[in-house]
Amino acid sequence: MLLSVRDLRIDFQVSRNERLSAVNGVSFDVPERTTLALVGESGSGKSVTALSILGLLPKPVAQVASESRILWNDQNILGFDAPRLRALRGKEIGIIFQEPMSSLNPVFSIGTQLMEGLRLHMGLSRRQAQRRALDLLAEVGIPDPGRRLDDYPHQLSGGQQQRVMIAMAISCQPRLLIADEPTTALDVTIQRQILDLIADLQQRHAMAVLFITHDLALVGEIATQVVVMKQGEVREAGSLRQVFDAPRDAYTRALLACRPPLGVRPQRLRVIEDFMGDGQGTATPGVRSRGVSPGDEIVLEVRNLDKDFLIRDGLWHKRPFHAVKGASLRLARGKTVGIVGESGSGKTTLGLTIAGLLGADGGQILFSGLDLRQPGSVDTMALKRRIQIVFQNPYASLNPRFTVGDILTEPLMLHGIGRNAADRSAMARELLGRVGLPRDALQRYPHEFSGGQRQRIAIARCLTVKPEILICDESVSALDVSVQAQVLNLLQDLQDEFQMSYLFISHDLAVVHYMSDQVLVMHDGVVVESGDADEVYAHPQHPYTRRLLLAIPKGV
């Protein structure tokens, strides 16, 4: 056995009299030449486990229990002194992290960074190291490696940076590669390339890979062994087939079922409670019908919308960057238009422009027949009530110095809804109940809530003014899979109840498919394809759409 983790227990000393158990008795084995996936949601302890293997945890804060063992070729790594650990890191075990940009040192060229490990561990001369670095860059698929060697990290794209990280990790021919969420920060098409690269390298160098991810669909693509973790404990372990086809643990079953399926559209997504509780699920089987009929009332129409950003070019000059070019869409009452695209495609800019948070540079935004871009044609305060937006990051979208009560009553106050403070407070309390939060949450501060709960608060804030259009800008992307399903269900329920129209922006193709009646595919600021959701997903016309759909991890 290459690596065996036995009864790993790690505590964090949070403050003088507070300890937090991060990993609680985890055991698993990584055999040679296999890929083992460590799967879990945030707080499951999967990354802490990975870091402890390399002795990278912050020393006085993180405390590993004395009876824990991490065996590397039957030797306990936890007992290693600093020089032996250093010899292990990089040489025997390579690691890649989630954020390639912050994992590379911005002030050294990638060549220098690649050669550092080679000269340190392999004892190569400068010239030899350089030759090896060139080979490595070619191996991980960096075009024209000779020229790239002197480039700095910021000159490479995110995918290329991750390739360089991989080159560094495999430079000394390690026998184990630890990949900690290596594709989470990347676009779906790049993710596909990196996955293929890791699988290819694993074969070629006969490495073992410890692949850490929150995404079960990815696991199906790459792993042969799976370990599912939750709150510092192993819930299920076994071969890929076994875990995917016949999951024994309720949590694993829930994780597999929570993701929106690509083929069918259930009325509601299944949530974790359906599995974890007493079996009394709320899931209703039925299939939701989608699509827009010609007779539907159009609430919002966007025609040839342009949005430029001015970029400072030199001391005086400014040049425009076209973020959105000639985008058009029609949104019907009570329906959802999904906007998909990769980072930099202009989908968020389009959403913010429609919400009135950015000024447009051309085209028309017609809202109930009124052109929002005509100055003075509409009362902006009245308009702001009718279009609301839910943002991506629930940790940034709530003012940390406001109580939940303040957050919910502020819009009521600004728009003069409710007679007095008590009245507004009562309305806020009611809304909290509607989005599934305890009513005593009113006096609390956002930092006391989890990501999913905060997103519910953000949704409740929008509901205070009873909007007709809700723009969801990556609203579920930062949430764990199980929480994602709950929030998606909530959005569906609210749409059914209030007949709101959604503009659902996401990079996640499966989620967009589940939510949308119609879909817009954006690429480099241009809408390359639009139409009925089922039609676009089943018969993509544009080559970019086809590429995007092919890149979706399908699981098993």
């Binding site: 919400a355 009530r385 279009i387 990051n393 940034a396 003012n399 940390p400 989890s450």
Partner: protein
């Protein structure tokens, strides 16, 4: 989220206060600073050290613990003894006796000039004229701390408002404020202070506060501007905008509380800096006027005294300043740790 009996929950300020209470060094520093502030307050009300100009001791009276063979009871000085009795005239006629009698008749309440008995030693010694150094140090603390505090508040206020406006609105507004900032930071600090002092043409505590306040806003400005640049595109501010909150509301109701930790730490740092600046300026003679005592003017006097071996005024002012500045600096560090919101969100 645990079920909890009480309806309310700790806000970020409460949490910061709890963190500060955990910090032993920080709490000690806070208590020391608090003691100073109490003394300053008492001095302001006139309850302690009401009049430092009274010449209560003999010239260069040594501190009590330093005085060797003298007993500590108050004794009139030699000269005083000679003057207190009737002046022997050796048979001569006082030529002004009649005028004196007339003046006394006109002002019946007027007292005979009497020499107050002077002390030979004082708690912390006396200066050249026999002023009590303890009283001077208390009065000097009052001046120095008040100048530092008020100037720091003024500078922080200026810097915060300018930084908020520049960072929030950006574009040409930002450019204009940055230009002003550039001008202020480009001129060597002391020269700038002298220039402003020359323009104001008046020596006094108010002038000093103005000088320090008008030159000291730059550090706060830079930090607050950076915070506003960061926060204005945060989603909670965008969400407030989408709700219809005005610019003023977004700037001062939403963003300001979230930058308050930076401002508070900077304010604390400025107090220390300005106390030191006041000392330097007064030492150089550009600070407080002669009828006001401050740590700086005490140190200035101590220059000449030290040659004569009279070290107590220097020691008193130096120690008082050193303790406060050290405590305040440690409090600043503790505040920074306690207020750092990265720990929570």
């Amino acid at each position: 989220m645990s079920a909890r009996a009480s309806e309310t929950s700790p806000g970020l300020w409460t949490l910061a206060w709890r963190r500060l209470q955990q910090d032993r060094v920080g709490m000690t520093a806070l208590i020391v600073v608090g003691c100073y502030l109490v003394v300053v307050l008492l001095a302001l009300m006139g309850w302690v050290a009401p009049d430092w100009t009274r010449e209560v001791g003999v010239n260069y009276a040594p501190p009590v613990f330093w005085a060797d063979d003298q007993d500590e009871t108050a004794q009139p000085s030699q000269a005083g003894q000679a003057l207190s009795g009737p002046v022997p005239l050796y048979g001569l006629q006082d030529p002004l006796a009649t005028e004196l009698a007339a003046i006394r008749a006109q002002h019946p309440g007027a007292q005979e000039a009497t020499e107050v008995p002077r002390r030979l030693s004082l708690p912390l010694g006396g200066d050249k004229w026999g002023h009590d150094v303890l009283t001077k140090v208390i009065k000097g603390s009052e001046t120095s701390i008040l100048v530092g505090l008020v100037a720091a508040i003024l500078a922080t206020l200026l810097g915060t408002v300018m930084g908020a406006v520049a960072g929030y609105f950006g574009r040409w507004v930002d450019d204009a404020f940055n230009w002003l900032y550039g001008v202020f930071t480009a001129i060597p600090y002391l020269l700038l202070v002298f220039a402003i002092a020359a323009v104001l043409q008046q020596k006094g505590v108010v002038t000093l506060v103005l000088i320090l306040g008008l030159t000291g806003w730059t550090g706060v400005f830079r930090l607050v501007r950076a915070e506003y640049l960061k926060h204005k595109s945060r989603e909670y501010v965008l969400a407030a905008g989408a709700m219809g909150a005005s610019h003023m509301r977004r700037m001062f109701v939403h963003i300001l509380p979230n930058t308050s930790h930076v401002i508070l730490v900077q304010l604390s740092q400025n107090v220390v800096g300005f106390i030191k600046s006041e000392v330097i300026l007064s030492f150089l003679g550009f600070g407080v006027p002669v009828d006001v005592v401050s740590w700086g003017s005490m140190l200035n006097e101590a220059q000449n005294e030290l040659i004569l071996g009279k070290w107590w005024q220097l020691a008193a002012a130096g120690v008082a300043m050193a303790i406060l500045v050290t405590a305040f600096s440690m409090l600043t560090d503790a505040l920074r740790d306690a207020l750092d919101p990265k720990l929570k969100y």
